[in-house]
């Protein structure tokens, strides 16, 4: 199949980028990234500068891929990361527009590569349980209802790719932040610090320059792991009770 690709090229963080048009011959069995590999091989053959895009596990779990395909983060297939998207979902002669994730808090570093350090800083602000190695009681001394473990797992399955931010009209990071807040708040181990955690994480998120949430739910629709916006509601509850309900000023 013959494809026309319009790809964002930007040499570095400071430079102004622009779209460039490429043509590539792909087969339906290829993954989207393999199609880009082929294109890069082509570019290298002509001694050009290959397109920079980030990727690693190529099995949909590491969360490294960060591109928007025809307006949708990770492309047109639901619950699928770019690396698991295959070319059989495109047609011969299609034009595909490929852009990097766009958000002020995710500056473009080169071509399709963006900087997602803001996510790390949000986790560092409180997305953990303060338990040192060796301090843990026996695993079965903490009983957790199966349903609760399931809800915690659903929230914890976030891969930190940032598609929620990329999809949100406001570039809000609420789904990412709430997934971590909810994961830990569901579990008894995490409840001890829940109040402090949610305050610190929300304030760090605000500092990073993400937009605010306006409940469009585009994040949930585009999340390759199907993280639910119920987590955002949970985070809101946690936050309000931690500020309004607590004795601390």
């Amino acid at each position: 199949m013959n494809l026309k690709l319009k790809i964002w090229r930007q040499p570095n963080k400071e430079a102004k980028g622009k779209f460039e048009v490429y043509e590539v011959e792909a087969t339906p069995e290829m993954s989207f990234l393999e199609m880009l590999d082929v294109l890069n091989d082509q570019i290298i053959e002509e001694k050009g500068n290959p397109i920079a895009f980030e990727h690693d596990c190529r099995e949909g779990i590491c969360g490294t891929c960060s591109m928007v395909i025809n307006g949708q983060p990770h492309g047109p297939m639901g619950l699928t990361t770019t690396c698991q998207l295959h070319m059989r979902h495109f047609k011969d002669g299609d034009t595909i527009v490929i852009e990097p994730f766009r958000a002020t808090a995710f500056p473009v570093l080169k071509d399709l590569v963006v900087d997602r350090d803001s996510f790390d800083r949000i986790i560092q602000s409180g997305g953990f349980v303060s338990v040192g190695t060796g301090q843990a009681p026996d695993g079965n001394s903490i009983l957790i209802e199966q349903e609760v473990a399931k809800d915690a797992f659903d929230a914890a399955s976030c891969i930190g790719c940032g598609a929620c931010v990329a999809a949100c009209p406001n570039a809000s990071a609420m789904l990412f932040v709430s997934a971590k807040v909810a994961h830990l708040a569901y579990l008894p181990q995490g409840q001890v610090e829940a109040s402090k955690r949610v305050k610190r994480m929300v304030h760090q998120m605000d500092r990073e320059g993400f937009g605010n949430c306006s409940n469009t739910y585009a994040c949930e629709a585009e999340c390759p792991k199907g993280i639910s916006v119920e987590n955002i509601a949970k985070m809101n509850r946690e936050y309000f009770s931690s500020v309004i309900g607590s004795q601390k000023k």
Partner: protein, 228 residues
């Protein structure tokens, strides 16, 4: 008290203000509509005019109405501020927009809100301002009352004979309907009320509300224009 300012200026605090003021306005719309439907009585405005008189002269109502105006302004200004700062969340826009993953209404809340606000300005300029601050309205006696009241009914009748004013009302109400279509359930989500059992009910109610209430309002100008 710094925790309050910290809270109210945080992203979630700002959202909470939008949610609470929005819910208040949702309740107000019901009250407002139930009063205004008296315009449809075929009594030459007796019921409506005495209702209007009561609403503009009763001290408690007047007091509450200023609270209402303040909340409308708060909702509108806060909404604009959030919308403005949200634009800064993405400095470069996508070449290809994404319309698949969310609704038109949810994407354009600020625009719809702005339209509703302009509509509100027209609406209040035409009726509220003229009623409260001018002598343009005729005084009419009302059965059972010992004072003459301003004939707002006649003003409504006159206004809704003008086709373009009716058109503005209809468009304004469509914007309101869309604004509510998203806003109703969104307010609950912001409050943290997302529940496997109850959220579908809230969403259903929101849809019914956002169609019925604006439709109820729309009946009035249409009634005056076409039937009366």
């Amino acid at each position: 008290m710094s925790w309050i300012t910290n809270f109210l200026t945080s992203s979630l605090g700002k959202k909470l203000i939008m949610s609470l003021t929005g819910l208040f306005l949702i309740v107000f719309l019901v009250v407002h509509l139930s009063g205004n439907l008296q315009l449809l009585y075929d009594d030459n405005g007796v019921a409506f005019n005495s209702y209007a008189h009561f609403m503009t002269t009763n001290g408690l109502i007047t007091f509450l109405s200023y609270g209402l105006y303040a909340l409308i302004l708060l909702h509108a200004i806060q909404g604009m501020v959030i919308a403005w700062s949200n634009r800064k969340g993405r400095s470069v826009n996508y070449k290809v927009g994404n319309t698949k993953s969310n609704t038109f209404a949810s994407r354009h809340m600020a625009l719809l809100g702005l339209l509703v606000f302009f509509f509100l300005a027209v609406h209040m300029g035409d009726f509220w301002y003229k009623m409260k601050f001018t002598d343009q309205l005729m005084l009419v006696p009302v059965q059972g009352m010992d004072v003459e009241v301003k004939d707002l009914y006649a003003r409504v009748d006159a206004a809704f004979a003008v086709w373009w004013l009716v058109a503005i009302y209809i468009l304004g109400l469509i914007a309101l309907a869309l604004h509510l279509w998203h806003g109703f359930q969104s307010a609950f989500q912001t409050l943290g009320l997302n529940h496997k059992k109850y959220t579908p009910v809230i969403k259903g109610l929101g849809m019914i509300y956002s169609i019925l209430i604006p439709a109820g309002f729309a009946v009035i100008p249409l009634y005056f224009f076409f039937i009366k």
